[in-house]
Subunit: 111 residues, 2 copies
Amino acid sequence: MRILEHPDPDDIGIDAVLAALADPMRRQIVCRLAEGHTDMACIAFELPVSKSTSTHHFRVLREAGVIRQRYQGTAILNSLRADDLNARFPGLLDAIITAQRTTGATAGTGA
Amino acid sequence: MRILEHPDPDDIGIDAVLAALADPMRRQIVCRLAEGHTDMACIAFELPVSKSTSTHHFRVLREAGVIRQRYQGTAILNSLRADDLNARFPGLLDAIITAQRTTGATAGTGA
């Protein structure tokens, strides 16, 4: 089983977090997890993209320190690292979730 | 004189804003402007990069809707679109400025 590497809380970088969350699909994933879904399997998100693209998005979020992933059998379960993010970058996660929920429908047009 | 295009307040996209602010030098520019510098000439920032790289960073910020630029003679003056950003994405700008000020020294390591 491959190792799923995660940055330590103090090593979470603002560059990587902002770059990870500059993508609308990755923000959608974060918003779903923020609704209280913990240990949500990648497949349960039903993202309208290929499996490899989906895996890529989850990996970017994990490597940035936004989500935590762990294996359960062959599935990978995801949870939001809200406490780590709120401690390191106060207010950032909530502001981005709010932005996504209020402007999500047009978020893709500004890139 | 070239036209400096700016997105309308309602067209500022979260994708473009987050991507623009995922760069440490662009966050430095924003933090300087947030200190109360309005109409600050690009050259006054004394960024440790080439003129073309500097121009690129300012352009990315302008096209994302983060800053406003205008000509004064041959100089380009910059100001932060704080009101537009705060209205569209409440709390986001402050959270990113706080993140930059508290973790700026290590911000480049997470990308």
